[in-house]
């Protein structure tokens, strides 16, 4: 099964080259979709291998797919597929001259994320995460407007600086491993509990690495780039970034956490992640109350969900399966929402919530999936986010973190109310009856627009998956349990 480790790296890169040379011809536009499909396929293959008790590895252990990596790869593939496939209609509107490079960058982006989750070496993981910044930089600035340029600049500066801090942390972890005689960055070695690692250096290294990766994970106070980048990037890119890039960064945090927990115990990062998580929820709550832009609304919602996942990570092993399921549920839901938001932006011509009214009457084809996805996002069952949130909160009280979880609940309520208000403002109501001057009363009520403005199937698949995945005990349950066990989750 070791060949499956090659697929998510080689196929997208090959397709990227093809996209660059193939230009904007129709089959070439399918490059990102094919890349996502390849990542998803290899993810599923690896999941199969992992469930069979195998741990595929490659390149002298540099690439390694344990249950967690296989799961993350599947998440990357699935969310990538939804974003790219759902964004097909949208990408067509991009300037044709740059279509090739756009597709190529998305493919490379996917490959970089795959590398990040497959790398056993945390240094390599870091390089892959930094590579995602590089590939997405031009994607964020793709529209070449003043505001997309602004977003891209902020993204690159804040993102690179943040990731640089992570590098400093990794360097310190490397330094800490000198005591073992054979300095290493292999996660597998570092996470062994019997190594004589220097606790002070691990503490500082872990803290800095988590702080750095928290930038990419969109955790406050390092989140500042996120609303701008997510709102300015083309919808499929926003979906990918919000849906999986954040999760990949969180994955890095979880890996680092395993190393530090083994050396200095869980308390230090627990406090740090709790503060980060709660701060993220707070930032999301306060800025959602009077939000004016629906793409920024989604961006802040991502900060909220990452905050919740960080709280889950802080709680530790009992909450880890819920956190992992959360990544999948949030990724699929958020990708769907960003894809739809792109379509709304395209047909309505404005990202302002005030300009988008009564969608349910005017454009049911967009409003219905939007509402369903919002219901999933705010945590209604049967969608899996519900289970993740409940799992985290119950585990939190079980782990004696009742105060943290209690504060989180208060903030979640504010966020829920704000999101509901904004969504209702966009979708619900009767369309305003024309301008006061001139127009005949009959002419205003045009026939409702039932078109989905793009492929429907990926959205249906994404929402369907999140709706049923939490009820599949076998093999999803086993996979989650094993993936959590990789991180020290007791099962």
């Amino acid at each position: 099964m070791n060949f499956a480790l090659w697929i998510p790296l080689a196929v997208p890169v090959t397709l990227a080259v093809l996209s660059l040379t193939g230009g904007a011809r129709p089959p070439g536009r399918l490059g990102p979709v094919a890349s996502s499909a390849a990542v998803l396929l290899s993810g599923l293959l690896l999941v199969g291998a992992v469930l069979a008790g195998d741990i595929p590895s490659l390149g002298g252990g540099l690439l390694r797919a344990d249950a967690l990596s296989a799961y993350m790869l599947t998440v990357v593939g699935a969310v990538g597929l939804v974003s790219t496939w759902g964004g097909l209609g949208h990408a067509a509107a991009a300037p044709g001259r740059f279509a090739g490079s756009y597709d190529a960058l998305i493919s490379v982006f996917l490959a970089a994320m795959s590398l990040a989750v497959l790398a056993d070496n945390i240094g390599l993981m870091w390089a892959a995460v930094e590579a995602t910044t590089i590939t997405t930089a031009f994607l964020v600035g793709h529209h070449r407007t003043r505001s997309s340029l602004e977003a891209a600049w902020k993204y690159v500066i804040l993102g690179s600086v943040g990731v640089a801090i992570a590098l400093l942390g990794i360097v310190l972890i490397y330094a800490a491993s000198r005591g073992t005689g054979e300095p290493t960055l292999s996660w597998l070695v570092l996470s062994r509990t019997d190594l004589p690692l220097d606790p002070a250096l691990i503490r500082a290294g872990g803290a800095l690495a988590v702080l750095g990766f928290a930038t990419k994970a969109g955790l406050a106070p390092m989140h500042s780039w996120l609303p701008d980048a997510h709102s300015q990037a083309p919808a499929p890119v926003s979906g990918l970034m919000s849906g999986v890039l954040l999760a990949v960064a969180l994955y890095a945090i979880l890996r680092i956490q395993t190393i530090t927990d083994a050396v200095i115990g869980p308390d230090f990062l627990r406090v740090m992640l709790s503060i980060g998580g709660l701060l993220s929820l707070f930032v999301a709550a306060t800025l959602l109350i009077r939000q004016r832009d629906f793409k920024r609304m989604l961006a802040y919602s991502s900060i909220e969900h990452m905050g919740m996942m960080a709280v889950g990570a802080a709680i530790g092993p009992a909450a880890l399966p819920a956190v992992l399921l959360y990544m999948l549920g949030h990724g699929l839901t958020k990708a769907t929402l960003f894809v739809i938001s792109g379509r709304i932006l395209e047909v309505e011509g404005s990202p302002r919530i005030d300009d988008v009214r009564a969608l349910l009457v005017r454009r049911p084809g967009l409003a219905v999936p939007w509402l369903i996805a919002m219901a999933a996002l705010v945590g209604f069952p049967p969608f899996s986010i519900f289970f993740s949130e409940v799992g985290i909160i119950v585990a939190g009280f079980g782990a004696g973190m009742g105060v943290v979880v209690g504060i989180a609940l208060v903030l979640l309520l504010v966020i829920f109310a704000a999101l509901t208000r904004l969504t209702v403002a966009m979708t619900v109501g009767a369309p305003t009856v024309g301008a006061p001057t001139g127009t005949a009363p009959g002419s205003v009520r045009a026939a409702p627009d039932r078109s989905a403005h793009g492929p429907r199937l990926p959205l249906i698949l994404a929402l369907g998956t999140t709706a049923v995945v939490a009820f599949i005990a076998e093999p999803v349950g086993t996979l989650l349990a094993r993936a959590a066990a990789v991180l020290g989750g007791a099962q």
Binding site: W153, K154, I157, V161, I165, A204, A207, L208, L211, P221, M222, S224, W225, P227, D228, M272, T286, I289, P321, L325, L360, V361, L371, A375, V378, F380, P381, P382, S384, F387, V390, I393, V394, G396, F397, G398, A399, G400, G402, V405, L409, L412, L413, V414, F416, A417, A418, T420, R421, V424, T427, V428, G429, A430, A470, F471, G477, L480, A481, A484
Partner: protein, 672 residues
Amino acid sequence: MTPVEAGMLGQVALLAAAVAAALLVPARWRSRVGGILCTLLAAAGVVTGVIALSGGQGSLTIPAALPMDPLVLSPDRLGGLVMVVVSAVGVLASLFGIGSARVASASRTAWASMAVFLFGMQLVPAATDVVSFLLLWEIMTLGSTALLLAHHATRGTVASALVWYSAMSQLSFFFVLAGFAVLAGATGDTGFAALATLDPASWQAGLAFVLLLLGFGGKAELVPLHVWVPRVLPEAPGHVAAAMSGAMVNIGVYGALLVCVRLLPNGPAWWGVLIMVLGGVSALYGILQASVASNLKVLLAYSTTENMGLVFLGLGASVLLRRDHATGAADAALLAALLLMVSHAAFKATLFLGAGAVARSTREMNLDRLGGLGGRMPWTAGAFGAAALGAAALPVTSGFVAEWMLLQALVHGSRVGGEVVSVTASVAMPLAVAVIALTAGLALLTFVKAYGIAFLARPRSEKAKQAREVPLIMRIPLVIGAILVIGLGLLPGPLAEALASAVGPAFTPDVRTIGLAGVDARGIDVVLDPATVVAIAALVLVPVLAAILVSARRHPTRVSPLPWAGGGSRLRPRMQYTATSYAEPLVRVFDDVLRPTRDVEVTHVGESRYLVERVHVEQSVSDVIETRFYRPVLGLAQRFGILARRAQNGSIHRYLSYSFVALLVVLIVVSL
């Protein structure tokens, strides 16, 4: 497979069928097919509940991907009881919906979400662990929210109702979630059986109790979490409002019962006092608002707050009295709470369906513009009247039996064998009696107003004049509801026995059937046999009727358009007392609580200061709790939201400083 399992599987299958039908069947047939499937779904709930109530066993496991304790649905007797009550209301509401659903409420969304709503509600009482309870609870909330959403385009106010409803539901959900999580954290397990091992005197139990009480109280529309009620229920069509106000509130009661009967029985005295205070305040506030409301649905909505308040009052009294070892009275109070829940479901569903029928015939919910519907809609009027009797707790309805039992429990509660049980009880019981009495009195006024203004006298508007009786399919549930209200009132014995079995084996209220299906509460040694009272009344009525018949033969009734007309001859329907004027004395009496806004505008004739051309009086009563508590908090949040924008003001330097400060803080912390 046991019958209970078959019943639950049947509900799952019917849910699927109903949702599929709602989405696929063309509009012409949708209401019929969807309505019938929803009715069947609810009927399956009734059957399952009855079997569970009579001791049937069976469980259904929900598969879950997360490694949690198994999610098991297995209704016990109490769950069975609530399932019966909730589903029975569901049957009535669905039947009514077949006829009443039009345009928006007959849409795909509406019927699909109706099925989801009913399903979630019916199965919440079957949950035996925290996660499946929360799962079904949220399915119920989702269904009801989507039901409201279906009306968004026809009514402008739906948007705000939706937001309020979702937010308040989520608040309740979070309270419940936090409460259960505290319990689960303390016991290390999410199964109800494990949670019940916690010592009620521990601080975790106390914290969880308060959280759960607030959460369930929110669902049961208790003050101060009731603010969504007067916004949401008027927006919902009659059958939806009936399902929400007649059935969904019972889930809140079920939650409270779950805590006080199953999970944490024998809680400390302050739990009882807290429940009683919450219930008492809700009862008074609810009925006061109801008595001054002019919108029929708002009136009914606030009345739900009142009734749920009484249920909680009974529950709280039972907790308190059990602590004081007045077991007989405690059992009677618990029984009274259950009786109130059952009777409230019957009469409130019927009342809302009646309101739905009125709305359909007149497209008017403002009592000030209704009137004279009794002759035009005799079936609706009859059913509404019977249910109104129930709501006013008058004999011989189920409402009367319930309130009688509650009062008896309270009166017998403060002393056992002539000895005072505790200072708390001896203060709480008389106050509770006073609260119930005032509530009952105001309820009387409220429902005299509702029925008298809407159905009696002369129509106050053209719409009311044009009203016609609703079709047969809508009359059927109305009549069934009315029969239930009266029937349960006539048969309190068997009903009380069934209810007593539901709270077993933890509690064993000693009640027997006596006389003509009367009830004998042995714990406090009181009996009530409404059927005998009716029989005596019938006997007394015989000579009166005879006298009337004799008199009527000699002196037939004459009909005159205006027999006396208050001494005038230009009496127009507009001059009648309206709902607003009916409640005016009360508004004045409770001026300090209700804080009405009055606006009087006098237009004079020409230059004269003595001749008045027109006087325009406007009076409105708003929800004090909303305006004094929620509004300021929301306003504060909004201002804060605007202020917080400065944190994200676009300056990359500011953003970098955030990161820089975070880095410095982390560096300092790690070197400490």
